[in-house]
């Protein structure tokens, strides 16, 4: 609350200062102000896709130029005013992003960054080859009446942009984007449609670029391919976000103001060396202070990101009825059944013709030595891998369904090695799963609070996962999976490396889930960890089921003993 008030006051003060300069300042001041506000909008836009969503782009200037041309053409040929041309340009850029994003977002890392760079260059070449855009000589439009007018509008747009990004950072989409940035696969397993989230982020950031381009062309009344797709705009935008703090709301604003002022100063004093100095500054920041100024403030304890949708204060917590309805289907009905699952990697048959059934309210243990194919079997069951055979979830054949869709339907899984989201808090980690799909906000908050309390993690709700001891990290992962309110839960060696106390906590959480009707399939190396919970066990060796029955029967099976101990083990069962 307090942080929101401070941020609000900052925004109002900045906007008032901007409006004051725009109305009362000379033309020179107004132009400088216009540039700063324009760069703030561009930096906020770049930060959405590259900072919050984690897809670094070196072609964001493409959306700026595309928006500028869209606005110029609309003003010339449709004879619309700037206030119509700007939203049109935003829409045009967002539409372009929608089309391109469908293809480009399948790439990642350097491939995405350079692919976007290439697209911006293609747009530039196109703009200088077409006659409608005026070719290489460019085109003119009716400019703003005075620099003060355009500066005023730009300041208001920038304030609006800050508000939008602030809202985004507090929203479900923002949460999903940060989770996706941290670990795409874990986000999918938490029920996040990561591709759609990224596509939305790209469209939004393109719209920011488009508005910036439209107001830019309206401000100077002239546009040519070289200035519309100017690489220096890209450099400055990237530098601003880096300097201020990538992935934050205020970083691009602070960086935008700071770098614009430095850029303007350098331009006045060292016009020819300006680019060299800005480039060197980029290197310096990348090497020495990658988190920018906000990371520096964070270190000093002046600032810290507020978790999204914090838990209700302890007093108002009432032990409400369990939200886990619907899952309480008939006792011991088949929740998940697999027939003939198999997959080959080259000449290795990792999983071979495996049948299994998971029943509501029961635990099925899958045990087997190292390399038996247990984790691969899980990946087949939850569609992370595609092999042969069929899996039915309830009444439904899940063939071809995406992992995030399965997670939303109630097929949850954990991973053998912890896959938590390093930049999210404990609270947010569980909330990602609890708020997946269309779960209402209050329900999601309720589920998350309850789960954290049950697992004893509520005291740590505002901490980062990497500050927790390993056992609590695994517990957190289980809590995240349970937040999907699963009908079936696949646990992949969830209890490895836990203390006895932690195992008890996990057992309690699993018992609660099972009493609510959840079916659990647990992979374990060491049977004693789950022997009390499991009602049935199946043993996997070299990809095949070699024994099934109750856990105690299975342990006495000679084939199982030879698989674990070697064929000539004569020790028998103790």
């Amino acid at each position: 609350m307090k942080s929101n008030i401070i941020q609000g006051v900052c925004l109002v003060l900045l906007t008032l200062a901007g409006v004051g300069i725009a109305l009362g300042g000379s033309g020179y001041y107004a132009q400088t102000l216009f540039t700063i506000a324009l760069y703030i909008v561009l930096a906020l836009g770049w930060n959405i896709i590259s900072g919050i969503a984690g897809y670094v782009s070196f072609g964001q200037v493409g959306f700026f130029g595309f928006g500028a041309y869209a606005a110029a053409l609309a003003m010339i040929h449709l004879e619309v005013e700037w206030y119509l041309a700007a939203p049109l340009a935003a829409g045009a850029s967002a539409l372009l992003a929608l089309v391109l994003g469908g293809i480009m977002l399948r790439l990642n890392g350097i491939f995405f960054a350079l692919g976007m760079f290439g697209l911006a260059r293609i747009l530039q070449i196109t703009a200088s080859s077409l006659s409608i855009t005026g070719g290489p000589m460019g085109t003119t439009v009716l400019p703003a009446e005075s620099p003060n007018e355009s500066a005023l509008i730009m300041v208001l747009v920038a304030a609006g942009a800050i508000l939008i990004v602030h809202a985004l950072s507090r929203s479900r989409l923002g949460l999903r984007l940060m989770a996706t940035r941290d670990d795409d696969l874990a986000a999918q397993s938490s029920g996040v449609n990561t591709f759609r989230a990224k596509l939305r982020a790209l469209c939004l950031s393109a719209a920011f670029g488009g508005v910036g381009g439209a107001l830019y062309v309206w401000n100077i009344g002239y546009l040519d391919p070289n200035s519309a797709f100017n690489g220096n705009i890209e450099l400055q935008t990237v530098l601003m976000v880096l300097a201020g703090g990538i992935g934050t709301v205020w970083g691009p604003v602070i960086g935008g103001i700071l770098i614009s002022l430095i850029g303007t100063f350098l331009w006045a004093r060292f016009p020819t060396e300006q680019q060299v100095i800005l480039g060197a500054l980029t290197i310096f920041i990348a090497v020495v202070m990658p988190g920018g100024l906000t990371a520096f403030f964070e270190k000093l304890g002046w600032w810290r990101r507020q978790p999204i949708w914090s838990p209700p204060p302890a007093a108002s917590l009432k032990p409400a009825p369990s939200p886990r309805t619907g899952a309480a289907a008939d006792e011991h009905s088949v929740a998940l059944s697999c027939r003939g699952l198999g997959i080959r990697f080259g000449g290795v048959t990792a999983v071979d013709d495996v049948d299994l059934e998971a029943r509501s309210g029961e635990m099925l243990a899958i045990i087997g030595p190292n390399g038996a194919g247990k984790s691969t079997l899980f990946s087949l069951m939850s569609n992370y891998l595609t092999g042969s055979g069929a899996t039915r979830f309830g009444e439904r054949d899940i063939h071809g369904l995406k992992p995030y869709a399965l997670a939303q339907m109630g097929l949850a899984r954990t991973f053998q090695s912890s896959r938590l989201f390093p930049s999210l808090t404990v609270w947010e980690t569980v909330l990602v799963a609890a708020s997946s799909g269309r779960v209402p906000r209050q329900t999601a908050i309720h589920i998350t609070t309850e789960l954290l309390r049950e697992t004893g993690l509520l005291d740590h709700w505002s901490e980062q996962p990497d500050t927790l001891p390993p056992g609590l990290q695994r517990l957190l992962e289980i809590a995240r999976a349970l937040a999907l309110r699963p009908k079936v839960l696949l646990l992949d060696e969830a209890m490895a490396g836990m203390t006895l106390h932690e195992i008890e906590q996990v057992h309690a959480a699993l018992r609660r889930a099972m009493s609510g009707g959840c079916a659990i399939v647990a992979i374990e190396h060491v049977l004693p960890a789950i022997v009390d919970l499991a009602s049935r066990a199946q043993v996997l060796d070299f990809g095949r089921i070699i024994a099934s029955g109750t856990p105690h029967e299975v342990l006495r099976n000679p084939e199982v003993i030879s698989a674990y101990m070697g064929a000539d083990y004569e020790g028998g069962t103790q």
Binding site: R106, L114, I283
Partner: protein
């Protein structure tokens, strides 16, 4: 008709050799450090402009400028790796982002420093302007010379990597940095040398290319993309793949230029680049190239 096509094919193959040298440095650096040097194109241009100055001011032939440019860029590369990139941990997503941004900034520093030295106009180096006649087929002498030199340089690099102890150490570090370090190799030194050699190859390529096409300090982005397209198409870190990719690119570019003109030819490289990313992200011969 057929003569034209054969002529264009030969031109394309010769250009392919030049493109290969332009891409080899990037490939080497990527192979060892998994870093894409976004300043690669700028390094090529610096090498070319150095050859230009040596030729126009002192009358030194590009054949001599070729090793000099390589030496200068080797020093620059060593300094860059030692002062900048060694300080950024490559692990994790933020590490990748930081190296990208650092070389992105470096690209601006180099481009604009050379802008301060050489100005913004196109510079060209007229050298060996005759043509080699093979029956009715005419090939520019400069292109033939540049291509032969480029192939030689690529061959020397290949021999260095395959048969010398240092070259083997570089390859070991490329395949597993940790494993190489466990065998007692000084991986930091190897990274510094690798970056130096990669930059030297860029400089050497530049001193050849400027005899073929005029250079401008701001045109580096296209060269970087061109080099990256070749190594992405060939499969990142795959030298044989890069050779074939460079030849394909050379032929495609010569034909587009001849039949469609220069604007489509400069767009062609980006179109191929994006098509490669979409349809063959693992390259023609490599594993999936995910950095």
């Amino acid at each position: 008709m057929w003569i034209t096509i054969i002529n264009l094919l030969l031109l394309g193959l010769l250009w392919g050799g030049v493109y290969l040298l332009m891409a080899t440095g990037l490939n080497l650096i990527y192979g060892v450090m998994k870093v894409v040097n976004l300043a690669h194109g700028d390094m090529i241009i610096v090498g070319g402009l150095l050859a230009f100055t040596l030729f126009s001011a002192h009358g030194i032939s590009p054949i001599i400028a070729f090793p000099l440019a390589a030496a200068l860029l080797f020093v620059i590369g060593v300094v860059v790796q030692f002062v900048i990139l060694e300080r950024i941990p490559v692990k994790g997503s933020l590490g990748e982002l930081r190296t990208l941004l650092a070389t992105f900034g470096l690209s601006y520093v180099i481009a604009n420093t050379s802008f301060l030295i050489w100005g913004s106009q196109f510079q060209s180096l007229p050298f060996l302007q005759g043509s080699v006649q093979l029956g009715r087929i005419a090939l520019p002498q400069a292109l033939v010379a540049a291509s032969v030199l480029a192939f030689c340089a690529a061959l020397v690099l290949h021999l260095w990597l395959t048969y010398t102890m240092l070259g083997k150490s570089v390859r070991a570090t490329a395949q597993s940095g940790l494993g190489a370090a466990c065998c007692g190799l000084n991986s930091r030194l190897i990274r510094v040398i690798t970056f130096g050699v990669g930059a030297a190859l860029a400089g050497a390529a530049g001193s050849l290319v400027i005899t073929l096409i005029p250079f401008q300090t701001t045109a580096s982005g296209e060269l970087t993309i061109q080099a990256f397209t070749i190594i992405a198409l060939g499969g990142l870190g795959n030298y044989m793949g890069a050779l074939i990719a460079a030849e394909i690119l050379g032929i495609v570019e010569v034909f587009t230029q001849y039949y469609l003109g220069s604007n489509p030819a400069s767009a062609a490289i980006y179109v191929i680049f994006i098509a490669v990313l979409i349809f063959r992200p693992q390259g023609l011969f490599g594993k999936v190239g995910r950095v």
